[in-house]
């Protein structure tokens, strides 16, 4: 017995070999592979087509168009009453009665500036699609957060 040490203890070796190893639950390997492979698919599937500068230009145009359209051409805000009196109330009623006319004016404006709206709609549409592809709508809705192939 004296000559047996931990290195050549055949009894322990034999008994330990009989212990069946513990197994994790079913689907363990699949879950790990899902965690590993998923981000790679996302990275390869989404190649951002529009760069940061172009997004900034599109967003600037999208912001500029409504400003030019409403404030310079139509003087829309001049018609809003600022104090309540019989006269201003009368003006306000007149304003309300003219709302349907404004809608027809908007429609006319849409026809007149149709290419502006086409750019605006296309820009917003592209922004939305790009954000959806990145799966992070809020973070990517602003142009300055859109860059390269960053994985969130």
């Amino acid at each position: 017995m004296k000559n047996i040490s931990y290195q050549n203890d055949e009894l322990l070796k034999r008994l330990f070999k009989k212990i069946s190893p513990e197994s994790p639950s079913a689907g363990f390997s699949e879950r790990i592979m899902d965690l590993i492979i998923q981000p790679e698919i996302d990275m390869s599937a989404h190649q951002q087509t529009i760069n940061k500068l172009l997004w900034t230009i599109i967003a600037s145009i999208a912001l500029l168009i409504p400003v030019l359209f409403f404030l310079l051409d139509w003087s829309f805000f001049d018609l809003i009453p600022f104090s309540i009196s019989a006269e201003t109330f009368n003006h306000f009623i007149v304003f309300l009665s003219k709302i349907p006319d404004y809608f027809s004016s908007v429609l006319m404006g849409l026809k007149q500036y149709s290419w502006f709206f086409a750019i605006l709609a296309a820009g917003i549409g592209l922004l939305f699609i790009d954000s959806l592809l990145n799966k992070s709508l809020i973070r990517n809705i602003f142009p300055f957060t859109l860059s390269g192939h960053e994985v969130k």
Partner: protein, 201 residues
């Protein structure tokens, strides 16, 4: 399932076949899970630790040098993660019970242990293993069950080679001590039962 060498799968992964990692997971999942389970004593926690270890190992593959075995590197990751988890829960690893071990010399390893049937020996061992600390359990399993070398165990547990040798020596003594104690108490109870039968007869 027959597996190729770890190096084969690692080469597949580095050449772009990420799915080859599934074979490495399948090959090592039981030992990785066993190490975690021996330390945390909870299947859910052990599975989470094992899963994190595999993901972490995959993400760090670029930093893996072929100087060490992949399995050793992987076991080290899971061992450290499990130890961290236990420390977070403030469950200190119990140190070796030196007083028990030192009172038991190599010479007194009872040859009676070799005379009993293997199923009985196995049962005694299973019970004796419960007396070991988490660290001891991992070390002895790696050595006897998984055939890891002293150097591998040293790399996994971050202990020196000399320290691993001393620990293995002590663990063996401790196991035999516990097995002997259990066998003696079993013999006593059997004798008592025989005596009781004789008296009642």
């Amino acid at each position: 399932m027959k597996f190729e060498t770890d190096i084969f799968y690692l080469q597949q992964i580095t050449s772009g076949n990420a799915r080859a990692y599934a074979f490495l997971v399948e090959k090592h999942k039981e030992m990785v899970f066993s190490i975690a389970l021996k330390i945390v004593h909870n299947r859910e926690d052990a599975e989470e630790i094992a899963q994190d270890a595999f993901v972490k190992a995959y993400q760090s593959l670029s930093g893996f040098k072929n100087e060490a075995k992949f399995s050793t590197w992987l076991y080290r990751i899971v061992y450290n993660s499990a130890i961290s988890k236990v420390r977070k829960k403030k469950l200190e690893l119990s140190p070796l019970d030196d007083s028990t071990i030192n009172n038991y010399s190599d010479d007194t390893i009872d040859s009676n242990l070799f005379l009993i049937d293997e199923p009985d020996q196995f049962e005694l061992l299973q019970k004796a293993l419960q007396c070991l600390s988490e660290e001891e359990n991992v070390i002895v399993s790696l050595f006897y069950q998984n055939d890891n070398s002293i150097e591998d165990i040293s790399a996994i547990t971050n202990l020196t080679v000399a320290n691993v040798k001393v620990k293995l020596h002590r663990i063996r003594k401790k196991l035999y001590s516990e097995m002997q104690k259990m066998m003696t108490s079993l013999e006593h109870s059997e004798l008592n039962q025989a005596y009781f039968k004789e008296v009642t007869r």
